[in-house]
Amino acid sequence: MTPRMLVASGLFRNYRPVLLFFWSTMVLGAAITGIVLRMVTEPTFSPWLMVAGSASKYWLGAVGVMLVSTHLRQFVANGFTRRDFMAGAAIFGLLAAALFALLVPVGHGIEQTLLSLGGPLPADYGAISVQDGLREFGYQLPGELAFLVTGAVAAAGFYRFGVGGGLLLLIPALLPAAVAEGLFGIDSNADIRTRFVPYAAALLISLVVTALGALLFQRELRHVAIHRTAG
């Protein structure tokens, strides 16, 4: 296995139990919310889409922070270069973001199936088809990537330049997440939509800003000294 694949697989192994816990909590939370809503009213939205769609992005943002504060020195201490760590982290991040973006529409579909067991779906519930699922994936993925990169760039700024430099770099660090949040949205009826520009343009802008954030991350860490503590 190449060093970067070792890093990627090491990160997946590390996060496997946390991932299981996180998604189990999401499933449980969405299920309870769905049952309660169904008992008291006719849900006009997908609890899963609202909760998991947002939480998964925030969780990846936190993972981005952890990549710098915990895992960088862990892997360098085990004989890996910063370059291999960043490449492995990028593989891990891409796969994790794709997995999370996939789980959102899949969970939505499962939720819809469970709701339909109790009778006809409420008229206003945002029902999902395979095509809608693909669209949801397409709208979710840029946000997942953007939040991961934002977390990583923000943490790298503090790690490399301390509090002062880190605060200054927060502005470019927050751009990927801000752009993704600004351009992509899911309304209360689970209708996915873009703001300001068509989907293709929104996707392009978001991916470019996220890629620039990833480049900043690489520049921040490529020669960074390995500190004793997180920052």
Partner: protein, 297 residues
């Protein structure tokens, strides 16, 4: 061969390593000695590619280790603060090292866990200072890296654990020879392990030589004040102290047989100076406020 040429490490205006030039042959145990803030950790950080040098060059086998995948894989650097996740259990830390380190000896690591009486299920955050050091020693030794760097790896260890550490270090080095650099303040305890000593002070190299040669450089001359004064005239005196009419002077520089005979004929007693005492004399301030190391340069 590890070659440092005019190596400088600075943090803003603070110079931690100041134009240090040094060659280290492979397959030896080196003791890196220096007072707090002398630049030991900065020097080791550059060797382990944890930090880029501010100036000068560092080469291992002719190649700069910074971001060199092969050299970094062949180096293990254990700092007093462990570079592991605080939330991980010991077994998980060792498992990770086993997957990532090419020469990791899992059986040996397991044995060391027992030797240091660590509980595999305990989280790193719950370990005492000494237990953390023990875990660091396990990570350092079981990695079997061709360049093993242990920076004050004994901190907080009790006497029994330190003895076990020295025993295991020597046994494993004999079974698997490699370059080991030990940075330590417990000089007398490890002096017998060290093949060569490197003394740095204020980021500069003071001494680099075989431990036996270094040890032989320190001589304590004791006797009547006048006789001692006459004998030490023109020699490098590291320290002097008097009690009544008796004076003891610590000299830097080995005495030849003729000098030794002359001293005895003058009623003087000659005694070796321990490595730690010699180090203290070399790196402590002189009466005139200057470092004695300045006089040796």
């Amino acid at each position: 061969m590890i070659s440092l040429r005019d190596l400088t490490v600075s943090y803003g205006d603070t110079i931690a390593v100041d134009g240090l030039t040094l060659d280290l042959a492979p397959g030896k145990i080196y003791g890196l000695l220096g007072r707090n803030g002398s630049g030991k950790t900065s020097l080791l950080s550059v060797l382990a590619a944890y930090r880029k040098a501010s100036g000068g060059t560092v080469a291992i086998g002719g190649v700069d280790p910074f971001e060199n995948a092969a050299l970094m894989r062949d180096t293990v650097f254990i700092r007093d603060s462990l570079d592991v996740s605080e939330q991980d259990r010991i077994c998980r830390v060792l498992e990770l090292a086993g997957r990532l380190r090419p020469c990791w000896d899992a059986g040996y690591a397991d044995r060391l866990v027992d030797v240091f009486e660590l509980h595999r299920r305990k989280r790193v955050s719950a370990l005492s200072r000494g237990q953390r050091s023990s875990l660091g020693v396990i990570l350092g030794l079981a990695a079997r890296a061709p360049l093993t760097i242990l920076d004050e790896a004994y901190l907080g260890m009790d006497a029994a654990a330190r003895k076990a550490f020295y025993r295991e270090l020597l046994a494993d080095y004999l079974a698997h020879p490699r370059t080991i650099i030990l940075s330590t303040h417990l000089i007398e305890e490890v002096a017998d392990l060290l093949e060569q000593v490197i003394v740095i002070d204020h980021g500069r190299l003071v001494v680099h030589e075989d431990t036996d040669t270094f040890r032989a450089r320190g001589v304590a001359v004791t006797g009547p004040a006048g006789a001692v004064e006459a004998f030490v005239a023109g020699r490098t005196v590291l320290s002097q102290q008097s009690l009544g009419g008796v004076r003891e002077a610590t000299l830097y520089g080995a005495l030849d047989d003729a000098d030794a005979a002359r001293a005895r004929a003058a009623g003087l007693t000659l005694a070796p100076v321990g490595v730690q005492d010699l180090f203290i004399h070399l790196t402590s301030g002189a009466d005139d406020g200057t470092r004695r190391t300045e006089a040796l340069r």
